[in-house]
């Protein structure tokens, strides 16, 4: 399928979804739907680096929280519209990804993974010590009473924004997969040495993947302060973002754009249901067990069941 046709279809699907939720008009649907959409973006973003290029990023929470805290800063200093904040939050996350990648991506993939895990701890320390953004006490963000443009409750606007970002992220991931860039990434994943020897500019491609991945994660995090209205470092940098994202991508299947989408929808809905019916700690445990189970028994994910 051509990219243009796919984008039109994805936009139509997004519009259809929004109209359906708008007709149901139940605030819970918007709140729950927002989280699922946010995880589609995160899993898709993670997959650009992790699935396509084979470099495991454990720092999802750090990139995500950087977007969120950029919004906190902009909210306190300016009165710019949310989409612009998202672009800036994404840009900062992307830049941090570039710096991290430049320092660690020349080494074995493991070192990059360990560095991302450590980076999350350090950025959390920085934010905890920075009183302007609330420090360890956290920060309250007052959500505007009604939505710009579409009217209605502000959560509808947040939902719509996240829906648009989801369409953008999924279309980009799909376009990348079938481009020269995507072929370069899979060459790196399958055999980096051979790729390098055949003239694939591996470091540059890995940096592009890290920046794109960080960009989308930061954009996904930017609306978070308005969604939660109270943000503190332990919740913004929660390890569960990283675990959920990796679990969703791996359970769905990492080699194509559709895997993370399937994984995020299934696990996202499962978690929403399990946190309401059982408990949120137990629902996290279920995700962890599913992750380990899939990695051992079905390493190609759900998508792998349908292809040989």
């Amino acid at each position: 399928m051509q990219n243009a046709r796919f984008i039109v279809l994805a936009a139509l699907a997004g519009a259809g979804l929004f109209i359906v939720t708008w007709l149901i008009d139940n605030a819970y649907i918007f709140f729950a739907g927002y989280v699922v959409l946010q995880y589609i973006v995160l899993a898709t973003a993670w997959n650009i680096l992790g699935g396509y290029a084979g470099y495991v990023n454990f720092g999802t929470a750090a990139f995500f929280a950087m977007g969120a805290y950029t919004t906190v800063i902009l909210h306190k200093t300016t009165s710019m519209p949310l989409p612009l904040m998202m672009v800036l939050g994404g840009a900062i996350s992307g830049l941090v990804g570039l710096g991290m990648g430049y320092l660690t991506l020349r080494l074995r993939g493991t070192f990059f993974s360990i560095a991302t895990l450590a980076m999350a701890v350090v950025l959390q320390t920085l934010i905890t010590n920075w009183n302007f953004v609330g420090g360890s006490r956290g920060v309250y963000i007052i959500r505007p009473a009604s939505s710009p443009v579409i009217g209605g409750d502000y959560i509808q606007y947040l939902f719509l924004i996240m829906l648009l970002l989801t369409v953008l992220a999924v279309c980009s991931a799909r376009a990348i997969q079938h481009s020269r860039l995507g072929y370069g990434f899979s060459a790196i994943r399958d055999d980096e040495l051979a790729a390098e020897a055949s003239g694939v500019p591996t470091l540059r491609l890995k940096l592009i993947a890290t920046v794109l991945s960080g960009l989308f994660m930061g954009m996904a995090g930017a609306p978070l302060p308005y969604y939660v209205t109270y943000l503190d470092p332990p919740s913004g940098f929660s390890l569960s973002y990283a675990v959920n994202t990796i679990a969703m991508a791996l359970i769905g299947g990492t080699s194509t754009w559709v895997g993370p989408v399937i994984g995020a929808i299934l696990i996202g809905i499962l978690q929403q249901v399990a946190s309401v019916t059982i408990s949120s700690a137990l629902s996290l445990l279920i995700v962890g067990l599913l992750l380990v189970g899939f990695v051992i028994a079905a390493p190609r994910g759900i998508v792998g069941w349908f292809r040989r």
Partner: protein
């Protein structure tokens, strides 16, 4: 005004003691990551498991935490054997295995942490032992026993492991297995069997490392994460798989962290390890004592 000097001296001494403790929590990773090339990022979670078993033995049976850490060594060894068995069957020798192996251990880290939260809650837990409270004094220098005892236990643990590595056939085979499994096979040893022993040993060390962690500080389930950066920073800086390097790097990190905590405030200390890790990876990935 001899106050800053006292402060400096105390910071360096407590940094050295802290470094000794860091060496104990890193030594398992030096074996599994440095020697066997198994990236066990769940290592801190097993250390916390060791802390909580020591806590249980201490609060229910009134056992000394370090003694209970020693008693539980075989149980942790068995746990290590079981995990390696799964790892070996599911990942070693399979394509794309390094990414899946990382995700596997990441999942284990998270499962252990969430399970500990479910069982023990998120309150800080601590142990009671005669050496938790008091300090020795030498002039203006304080030697808190809470740090001194773990320091000595750590050096004993690493000394024993060093003897095992250099004096026994299995120890030497362990050092060889990551470098050349084929040659090891020619010597009449099965690489998978040797790696199993090595990995199980690395998990066994978490029994003692966990026991001294809960002596050094009260624990709650999520603090394991703070140690991921430290452990790998020390392991990389120490030259991946060198015991002497691990001890030296641990002391350096301990001193730098202790100075940071004294002069800038303790909330900045976790950032130090990451700075060292990045510096090590950028400037000298082979580590302090590494061959390059």
């Amino acid at each position: 005004m001899d106050l800053p000097f006292d402060l400096l001296g105390n910071a360096i001494i407590s940094g050295l003691l802290l470094g000794g403790f860091y060496a104990a929590i890193t030594i398992g990773i030096t074996i599994s990551f440095g020697m066997l090339d198994i990236v066990n990022i769940a290592h801190p979670a097993f250390i916390l498991l060791g802390s909580y078993t020591a806590y249980l033995a201490n609060s229910i049976l009134g056992l000394d935490p370090i003694l209970s850490g020693c008693i539980l060594l075989p149980a942790f060894y068995a746990l290590g054997v079981a995990i390696y068995q799964v790892y070996n069957i599911a990942f070693e020798g399979r394509s794309g295995s390094s990414m899946l192996g990382l995700a596997f251990f990441f999942g284990l880290l998270f499962i252990t942490e969430v399970s500990l939260v479910l069982v023990f809650g998120v309150d800080y837990r601590l142990v009671e032992a005669p050496y938790v409270g008091p300090s020795l004094h030498a002039g203006s220098i304080d030697l808190p026993l809470r740090l001194l005892v773990p320091f000595l236990v750590s050096l004993a643990l690493i000394g024993a492991l060093q003897l095992f590595m250099s004096r026994t056939f299995i120890g030497r085979a362990l050092q060889a297995v990551a470098q050349d499994p084929q040659a090891l096979r020619l010597m009449g040893a099965r690489p998978a069997g040797i790696k199993r022993i090595g990995f199980a040993l690395s998990i066994a060390t978490t029994s003692i490392a966990g026991a001294i962690l809960i002596v050094v500080q009260p624990v709650e389930p999520s603090i394991g994460r703070d140690y991921v950066g430290r452990i790998f920073a020390i392991c990389v800086l120490g030259g991946l798989g060198s015991f002497a390097g691990t001890v030296a790097a641990a002391m350096i990190l301990g001193i730098v962290e202790s100075l940071t905590a004294t002069f800038y405030g303790p909330s900045w200390a976790p950032a130090v390890a990451f700075g060292l890790l990045l510096a090590a990876l950028t400037v000298r990935p082979a580590g302090l004592l590494g061959r390059r």
